[in-house]
Symmetry: C2
Subunit: 159 residues, 2 copies
DNA sequence: AATGAAACTCATGAAGT
DNA sequence: ACTTCATGAGTTTCATT
């Protein structure tokens, strides 16, 4: 049940996904609507959960975490009670920025941010020590970041 | 040269990373500072690039893009001029939300959002057709999303 | 459902400690 | 460098079309 989004809603979302501080008046002039109309639509988009959050993006290098790692974690799928606690462990670990359960050999894919290799090693040792169902993991280091974010295409014409 | 961040800055960042709309006054009472002081620090953090952006997070399911895919792309490293245009291709493609160049066999890791399998197939066919240096790719479908975002740990005590 | 105006909240800037 | 106070911009609500 995806909600109805007309071209005005899409225009608003396209702008706010790049700059959440843009005023309703500026958005209005950009898409051809009054500030109040934009305001009300934004309120509705928040209400309906289309806009899930408005957040500040912090530069991880500026804050002393220049390392990004992509980790494939292989898990024993048998004991499901351990799986629940692994999920909780991942959710509670701030160094893990993103995590998906994916098709394949009981795999999870993690995006991890770290200060340095030692910091990453310590994290993964803890992961292994505290989660008995983690069979093994494979690490790839991000040598370059081409793109980051959760920008969702809102144009009906895009794939 | 990561800039100096005291506990107030870290407190501000911790809050704004979760809710960029929180008022300076509320942040001030939370961390024990006046609204103006918070305001001035936020301005400085933006200035210095610690806060890189403030963006709206759009729920991709609510907008009709329920599929997330993790794609490993293997590239011929020889012809560097093709590499540049591949990077531009990735940058220009809105369905690719995230992309890293990683250690390994000339690999890129992509996070892709799609309406359905057909939409994803079409995207990858275009990728292959328009980038001669893409040797092959491997797709994993996200069966579940445990965590998303770019939340950077700001506490000095976290790994 | 959009507009325009009023009331209000919040951010911004200045002066003082 | 933080606090308080004054000003201005932006958001929210309401009455109207």
């Amino acid at each position: 049940m995806p909600m109805e989004l007309d071209k005005f809603d899409r225009g608003i979302l396209a702008i706010l996904q790049r700059d959440a501080r843009r005023s309703a008046e500026l958005i209005g002039t950009a898409i051809g609507l009054s500030a109040s109309a934009v305001q009300r639509r934004i309120a509705r988009l928040r209400e309906e959960g289309v806009i899930a959050a408005e957040v500040a993006i912090v530069d991880s290098r500026a804050i002393g975490r220049p390392l990004t790692l992509i980790v494939d974690v292989e898990v024993e799928r048998e004991r499901s009670e351990l799986l629940v606690s692994l999920k909780q462990w991942i959710a509670a670990e701030p160094a893990i920025q993103e995590a998906w359960y994916v098709t394949g050999e009981g795999d999870y894919v993690l995006i991890v941010t770290a200060r340095d290799v030692d910091g990453y090693d310590a994290l993964m040792r803890k992961l292994i020590a505290e989660n008995a169902n983690v069979r093994r993991f494979q690490t790839r280091v991000a040598l370059g970041t081409l793109k980051r974010g959760q920008l969702v295409p809102v144009e009906p014409t895009s794939e």
